[in-house]
């Protein structure tokens, strides 16, 4: 690999893409490289490093909007928001716990390109739900913008959302605008002990269908809950998070304890303990780096979570826990030849559908196995046509999502 392109602004970025086009050299697009170990291994010859395209362009707390360049560290943004009592409501996961690298690394561009989210996904959506506008450069070297700086906007196609989860394969982001929201004034977590998966998801479903406005709903079987070291809990733990103003949290907490009394009496954790707990759930602490197993992220209908987990329980070294009220399964398993991709995807399909993404595995496995859920032919063809329209020469992160695309 030759020396990296490191543009400092959008015109510089355009030049880089155009030069790569002229030289027919595919680019690997990175911010701080925090997710380079995710997805299919890069097939690009040249690094395009966006970390110097950094800085907050505009932040207006009273307008609930923040614009920053793509290479701006998320940690900087979260710190600035916290100073103003605000936050990125979608609670982006910090992948360093799972993948290694510096804790808190990652850039705003990567947040959208990988469509990050966290436990609050069930209530407040993912990065794609908070993005308001973007600027970027296509694989044709054309600079463009989409969206704006206001929440309500239906002017033209929603390319900002269209680029969410595109892993830098359609365009290189240069600037992003996100909606930000006031951070909750109070947080409390209810922890129920000793439930099996089926009972736990029944509990979570009941809580989610209540008026308690739950903002986190996770279940950790005994093998996974040990990794969280929850004070006074020894064994399976079922977690419900409530956020808001103090009187509201207290009222909803009492309401839930009453509504869910058939599942036992919950232990209640206050602000500080709650925040640590949900960070661990968000970042997949139970399968943190050092654990030799591969890690999958499965998204399914919440009530089908236990069936999927139980179908996979016989795989070597299998371990799991649930977020999103049962709809997100973090699944660890011994690597084997192919990370058990076919078995896992068959279990998801059989339970009613969803998708499975291989998050952590050796590069050799990620090169061999479809890392993202394979698509039906018509949808795959449509995806390819979109890629061809934005990046006809295949110079942006080729093969990052799908082999040969």
């Amino acid at each position: 690999m030759t020396e990296a392109f490191k543009p400092v602004d959008e015109p510089g970025l355009v030049d880089c893409v155009r030069e790569a086009l002229a030289a027919e050299t595919p680019l690997e697009v990175v911010g701080q490289g925090s997710k380079r170990a995710m997805g299919r291994p890069s097939q690009a010859g040249q690094l395009l490093d966006l970390s110097a395209c950094s800085g907050i362009v505009a932040y207006e707390p009273e307008e609930l909007v923040l614009t920053a360049r793509a290479g701006t560290p998320v940690a900087d943004i979260e710190a600035l928001l916290a100073e103003n009592g605000q936050e990125l409501v979608f609670e982006p996961i910090d992948y360093s716990t799972l993948l290694g690298g510096d804790p808190g690394s990652g850039t705003l561009g990567g947040v959208l390109a990988a469509n990050l989210s966290g436990p609050r996904r069930i209530r407040a959506g993912a990065a794609r739900d908070s993005v308001l506008g973007i600027s970027g450069v296509t694989g044709r070297g054309e600079a463009f913008k989409s969206g704006g700086r206001v929440v309500k906007n239906v002017t033209g196609y929603d390319l900002s959302r269209g680029l969410a989860g595109s892993w830098g394969t359609l365009a290189v982001l240069s600037e992003l605008t996100f909606k930000v929201l006031p951070a909750a004034r109070a947080v409390e977590t209810l922890v129920f002990a000793g439930l099996d998966d089926a009972r736990a998801t029944a509990l979570l479903s009941k809580a989610m269908g209540s008026t308690a406005d739950v903002s986190g709903a996770a279940h950790l079987p005994a093998a996974a809950s040990g990794g969280l070291k929850i004070d006074g809990i020894d064994g399976a733990a079922t977690l419900i998070r409530l956020e808001g103003i103090a009187v509201s949290v207290a009222a909803r907490s009492a309401h839930l304890a009453d509504l869910l009394s058939e599942f036992g009496a919950p232990k209640k954790f206050d602000d500080a303990a709650s925040r640590a707990l949900w960070r661990a759930v968000r970042d997949c602490r139970p399968f943190a780096q050092g654990d030799p197993r591969v890690v999958w992220r499965l998204s399914v209908a919440p009530t089908t979570g236990p069936a999927v987990a139980s179908a996979l329980a016989g795989l070597p070294g299998a371990g799991h826990y649930f977020d999103w009220a049962g709809g997100l399964i973090w699944f660890a398993v011994e690597a084997g030849e192919d990370a058990h991709a076919e078995t896992i995807r068959a279990a998801v399909a059989k339970a009613g559908g969803g998708h499975a993404t291989l998050v952590r595995a050796a590069p050799s496995i990620r090169a061999r196995v479809p890392v993202f859920e394979p698509q039906a032919p018509a949808l795959a063809a449509l995806s390819n046509r979109l890629k061809e329209n934005f990046d006809p020469r295949g110079i942006l992160n080729p093969g990052r999502m799908v082999a040969g695309v």
Binding site: E24, A126, T138, F144, Y157, A251, W324, A376, L379
Partner: protein
């Protein structure tokens, strides 16, 4: 039609009408194909009634297979297709074409699956927005986006327009509440996206399709997220001596970390028109009126009502009323929700605009709008989704007075340009359609629009689905696809490399 140019009808299509109608009848039997002029009349316009065009032929398919075969037939024969839901678009999104098959999806009217445990409902696209809530409210659930036309508008149309409503600051737009779609491409291929699980597998086509105004595919099934209805909902009516004070109050509420379920503003002409119409007890002398709605547990609503009251007082509020019953809350909203027809009573015609602006620019925008009002000699009343900056100026005119519609449209265009100038956008929730199509250049450069067209080219390279909407000019996809690269050269020697 005032100066609106639509794609010229293709003479070979017009000439082959009998053959095309017969072919469509072979796919959709019985009364599913309408070719009689009198029966087609109801389809000649949508909610933007200033524009009318008789369709070429109307088809009302009942099955996904019929949709697929009709689209494939049209694609193979290069026949244009205009998809239509309930026809409530305010931007002409469902305006027919003289040589276009109008495909109404209103026979797709069944609720397919309600799953309270997974908090989702799967419905056909012709089900009305309110119909979803009606189907689930017995269990205490509802579907959050609530455009004012919710009693009539279809969920398929909501997907096409990414519809909003008064509660989207807290609960999001359509795009934030859709979990899955089944769509049919112009090729007849059927594609399923998402479902009861979260996030896309691959590119976010759910995001691209929502708000694509019927130019990318025809929706045949929709899965939406259901929410549990809050325990308590309470509304507050606050009158202010100036729009600046009302605007400051909105800013203070947000700065206090409060995200109300709804926060609506009306100006004095809108207040009086609404009060004349529904007698909601609005303060007629107020220059600006805020309706702030709070929901949640009783304890939360009580506390936040107190906080908002204090902020209103600080901003010189002249009237503060809190709803003491559900009936009173509904009456607070009755005036706001009837603002359009109320204005319709004081003027023979009105033209409803839909820009979004950064909240803080409201006083400046209202002041400039008053100047424009004087300049054009047309009155304007304003209703405003104050929480999210979405402004609906209603321009009052009389279509029977020669030239007045043109004047109203020019006034409207100036307002939208003003919205863009202050950092906002052309349309917050009504869509571009034909109405704002020619203003897209105010907001987007040629390169910006090219990228949007490339999405179109990935879906519909022959540009047969709803042409003439959204994009001011039609480029051939092949033309857009050309690339100009000088091979083997390194023309950018000064790129920083490290």
């Amino acid at each position: 039609m005032s100066g609106l140019k639509m794609p010229a009808p293709k003479s070979e299509i017009l000439a082959a009408r009998d053959e095309i109608v017969a072919a469509l009848r072979a796919i959709v039997p019985g009364e599913g194909v309408i070719s009689d002029e009198i029966e087609m009349r109801p389809y000649e316009s949508d909610g933007l009634t200033a524009y009318r065009q008789m369709p070429f032929v109307v088809v009302l398919p009942e099955t996904v297979d019929q949709v697929s075969r009709v689209l494939k037939y049209c694609n193979d024969n290069e026949i244009r297709v205009v998809p239509r839901g309930a026809g409530t678009s305010l931007s002409g999104g469902a305006l027919p074409l003289a040589d276009g098959v109008l495909m109404s999806m209103m026979k797709f009217n069944r609720v397919l699956d309600i799953d309270f445990d997974n908090r989702s409902a799967t419905v056909q696209p012709g089900v009305t927005n309110l119909g979803i809530t009606r189907a689930v409210e017995h269990a205490g659930f509802y579907y959050a986006p609530d455009p004012s036309s919710q009693i009539a508008c279809s969920i398929g149309g909501n997907i096409a327009e990414n519809s909003g409503g008064v509660h989207c600051l807290k609960y999001g737009l359509t795009t934030n509440n859709v979990l899955g779609l089944e769509i049919v491409l112009i090729t007849g291929e059927v594609i399923r996206l998402g479902g009861k699980h979260l996030d896309a597998e691959g590119y976010d086509f759910l995001g691209l399709l929502t708000g694509s105004e019927g130019l990318l595919g025809v929706v045949t099934e929709v899965t939406v997220r259901l929410l549990r209805a809050p325990e308590v909902v309470s509304a507050m009516l606050i009158g202010f001596p100036s729009s600046e004070d009302a605007g400051q109050c909105v800013a203070d509420v947000i700065a206090a970390g409060i995200i109300p379920a709804g926060m609506e503003m009306m100006d004095n002409p809108a207040i009086n028109a609404a009060e004349d119409f529904v007698h909601a007890g609005y303060p007629r002398d107020a220059e600006a009126l805020l309706i702030v709605e709070l929901d949640g547990p009783q304890a939360e609503v009580d506390e936040l009502l107190g906080e908002v009251k204090a902020l209103a007082g600080k901003n010189k509020a002249t009237t503060i009323r809190v709803s003491s019953s559900e009936a009173e809350r509904q009456s607070f909203w009755a005036g706001r929700k009837a603002a359009f027809p109320a204005v319709g009573r004081i003027s023979p015609d009105y033209y409803c605009m839909d820009g979004t602006i950064p909240r803080k620019t409201l006083p400046r925008v209202l002041a400039r709008m008053r100047e424009l009002s004087d300049q054009y000699g047309l009155r304007v009343a304003n209703v405003f989704h104050a929480g999210d900056g979405n402004l609906h100026p209603l321009i009052l005119y009389d279509a029977n007075r020669p030239g007045e519609l043109d004047k109203a449209e020019a006034f409207g265009a100036d307002i939208l340009k003003l919205c863009v100038e202050v950092g906002g956008v052309l349309t917050g929730e009504h869509g571009v359609g034909v109405e704002k199509r020619d203003l897209m250049g105010e907001m987007f450069s040629e390169d910006d629009l090219k990228q949007q067209l490339r999405v179109k080219c990935a879906f519909d390279p022959n540009q047969l689905l709803n042409p003439g909407k959204v994009f001011p000019t039609l480029h051939r996809c092949a033309e857009l696809g050309r690339m100009h690269v000088h091979k083997g050269k390194l023309p950018f020697a000064d790129i920083p490399r490290f």
